[in-house]
Every structure is written in C-alpha cells, then in structure tokens.
Symmetry: C2
Subunit: 311 residues, 2 copies
Amino acid sequence: MSITVVGSIAFDTVETPYGVRERMLGGAATHFALAASFFDHVRIVGPVGDDFGDAELDVLAIRGSSIDDVERVPGGKTFFWKGKYGWDLNTRETLDTQLNVFEHFEPKMSQLSCAADVLFLANIQPGLQLDVRRQCTFAKFVALDSMNLWIDIARDQLLEVIAQVDCLMLNDEELRQLTGKPNLLSAAREVLTLGPRIVVAKQGEYGSSLVTEDEFFALPAYPLETVVDPTGAGDTFAGGFVGYIARHLDQPLSSDVLRNAMAYGTALASFNVEGFGTDCVRDLTATAVTERVDDLWRFAHFEHVVIELAS
Amino acid sequence: MSITVVGSIAFDTVETPYGVRERMLGGAATHFALAASFFDHVRIVGPVGDDFGDAELDVLAIRGSSIDDVERVPGGKTFFWKGKYGWDLNTRETLDTQLNVFEHFEPKMSQLSCAADVLFLANIQPGLQLDVRRQCTFAKFVALDSMNLWIDIARDQLLEVIAQVDCLMLNDEELRQLTGKPNLLSAAREVLTLGPRIVVAKQGEYGSSLVTEDEFFALPAYPLETVVDPTGAGDTFAGGFVGYIARHLDQPLSSDVLRNAMAYGTALASFNVEGFGTDCVRDLTATAVTERVDDLWRFAHFEHVVIELAS
C-alpha cells in the first residue's frame, strides 16, 4: 500500500511555557508523514520556498517517505506560522500567518501520488481537497481534516469533498460548527449521513472518539506530565490512525483495526507533544511506539466485575 | 457497610435547551445518595427548611436510605440554586443562590452517622468537612469534593481536610487551581503528596480520570445524544464510585475495584443527565445500571494487535 498526503509544509515559530523556538519545520503534511511513515510508504505533496533547505527535506524523507512531489516554488517563501500557547497548553493564539507559497498553491499530483491506495487530505482549502480527491481514483481509503475557517467561508465546497471521503477527522468544536448540533454524538452521526462512514473527534488533552454506524469508541490521551508543544498533535494522530488502517486494507475495516488505529494515533501524538516541532517523532523508535500502545491498553482497560445492586 | 454523606439538599431551578424546571429536588447529598443507595445503606446528613415536603423526603429515602439525620430547621427555607446552561450544556451560569438554612449549617452527626464505614464529604465549607471527618473515627474510606470558591477563600482549611481523606474528587480546573500546576497529571500527583491515595478528575462530557501512586485510568463519559440537565452529574458519579468501593472494603483496594467504581459512577452519571433533577436516577433499575457498565466496556475496550513498524 502507499499513502499520499496533501497539505502544508511550514516553518513554525512557537512559544509555550517551555520556551520559544523559531522557524522549526512544521505543517500538517510534515507531521502526518512523520507518523504515517512508520506504517507504509508515504508520498508528500505540498509547496515550499527557496528558504526550505536540504536539512528539512531530509527530515521529510525519514523512514523512506517520498519527497518527489514536494514542490519547490522558485523565488517563493515557505508557509510561516507563529503562535503562542497558554499556561495549560489548551489554548493558543495565532500571532502571525504568512501564506507565502501556500497562497496560490495548486497541488501538482504526479502519477504515483494519484495512484495511492490511501489518501490524507490535510487541512487546506476544500476546493483543492476536492480536486485532489477526484484525481486519486484508486484510493481505497480517504481521510480528511479541515478547520473552522473553511466551515465558515467555503461550506458548500467542504460538504462536497466530505461526501467523497471515508473518514472525517475534526475536533469537537468543528464538528459542532459543521453540523449545528451542540451534542457531539449527534454531530458525529449527522456527519455519517453526509458521506463518511467513520468520524473521528479529536479532543486534545482528553483524547479522541470514533463514531461509525455500528459503534462508539473513545480513548484517553496518553497521560504526560510534560507537554512541551502541542503543535501538530492532530496531524500526528492522523498519521498513526491512517497509517494503521493502510496496513489493513486487504480486509474489510474491522472494529479491531479501527480501535488499534486510534491507539497508534494516540501513542504517536503523545510523542509529538513531548518536544518542540518534529523533535520527538523524527527520532522515535518503533519499539517506543508499540510500548505506548501497550500502556494505553492498561490506562483504558477494565473488566466488569458485576455485583448485586439494590432495586 | 454503611455510607454517610454530608452535604447540601436543595431546590434547583434549572434552564437548559430542553426547557425550564422550577424548584426541583437537588443538592449534592441528594444526588450522591440516590446513586450510592444502589450499593449500600446510605445516611444523609444535611439541612432543609419548612418548605421541604414529605414527597421530597420520600425521594431521599429511596432504596432504603436513612433520612433520620436530615435536619429540619424550623422557620427556615431550603437552600435554593438557580442556573442556566449554554447550548452545548458545557457551560453554566448561576442566576441565583439563596443559602437559607445552609448559611448557618453545622452538621448534626448522630452516633449512627459517625459510625459509618464510608464517608462522602460533599462540597461544603472545608471547616465543616474537617469537623465531620474528625467525628467519623471508624471510617475506612473517605472521599471529598470541593469547589473553586473554597480553594480561593479557605485554602488552609481545605488542605487540612484533604490531608485526612483517602480520595479527592475534583474537576480538572479545580485540580489545577488547587495545586497551581497546569498539567493535570502533575496536579493529580501533587495531590497524592497532600494525603489522599486516590485522585479522581471529573471531566464532564469527556469522562473522568483516576490517578494513584501506581496507576492511571481514564474512562470516557457514556455517549448520549440527549443531555437534558447536567446538574448533579458529579455527585451522582461520586455516589456510584464511592458506593462500589464501599462494597469492597473487606479487601485492599485493587485496581479492578477502582476501575469498576469509575465505570459504575460513569454509568450512573449518564442516567442523571438524561432527565431533569432526580427524575432518571430516582426511577432507575439495577439492570439498567449494569447494562450501561457493559456498554462502557465496549466503548473503551481494545485488544492491541501488534504490527511491524518501520524503523
């Protein structure tokens, strides 16, 4: 199987209670690829500028990912984001956004990118997502992320592309905003009537929930005493989730596969937030990932010991 | 075993997106007792006024709870709270609080109340909690709830009583406020150095987490499409949690017992929020509770299917 991800490659300047880091490698496609590359061959589609160096390309290419479709825009500058997190790292403020090469980005899909079995449409303008979706005619599994901005200003296009994906991954607030339903379960079930057969609600420090027609599954975030930089946690989660699924597409998607996909996504996201930018997931070992999934089993597991209750 | 709960008995007027209900039976001790009475004999200690009728007392006495220590204050009026919930039921605004008989409340502990094996100190002034704690010399398990107000204005007394309980149950924000630690796990571990051996973080629609020296356990809330009135959910959870533990005090507290206690608390809280006030937990059957714990197992369970990852 092969996985294509289309999305942003960025430089991020991030301020958290643990310090400030300038112009780190970031972006949704970057974080997704670093996680998904543990599972399968990943092709990254996204634009960078002249300021994007070989050192950054080397990180993108980790674990065999293809950077052939990383588009270098001559004379352009790489997408830049600057943000600051609050003391509990649950709120963040955007201080600066420079779209740069992203402003006029039109994904250039090579034949190999289009031929992917699995496609992740990271958060970009829904019209572009739709365009990419249509080109990937062989994709057996497509997941999509978006954000409040597109729900606001490009709702119709967003609904059009949502109708053509298998899995929608949004945070709670975005699911509520998209559907107008304040209740998360109702919102997720509403999305299931729009096309996708899987909805994943990303819930930050609380973990994530999965809703399909037949089931509900929720997993806590991996408990950490030190969260250094949450930037990219959602995309890293998506990389683990989609990656695990990519390895099981020779069979119908079972409950076991979906739940393990959630666990691998959760484990990978936990490493992402322990360091700035790509620091931790870049250097991660397979064994460390597997161990955290084992931990998650212990953190979430109970055996029902039934007792007699009064009536 | 027997369980004593000391706390508020109230009339609540609540406005939610599902409507307004005037002067319903409420209060922390009420919600706790209705849940805990499924597990063991409960004694309720708290004050009411002349406006508190036999119909309300009958509800308190459900499933054999003792109302002998419900103190009728002649000429007094029952504690009254009025609040309004936002559209997603995650935020609430207090519109009116009338302390009434609660203003000069001093718990009158009968010999039987003091002799309880298990004590729940619902959210009241920490000085009163301390007084009650000292009188219950035989208690094998004591749990305590509090709130932001007491952390603000009675911190020393609160820390004094926290030092003398087995389990502290607070919501995330309160744990952060109490310890000054923005990270929830750090906050919970800090509390473990203050006296308690168990910390339960109540996380509303996200569920709850349990932290002890040896373990971490988190359980999602029971997924519901219709949440009618969240008032009392935390105390209902506490009733199920403490109740399940009360039934297992003949042995050291095992991980199994604590995790099932979390699950029973979660199941009971889910019924509480499905109706206004005490409507749902009052009329609940033991079978319905057990079934929801089974459901929770399915919602939270996965078996780790290990796959080979790239390195």
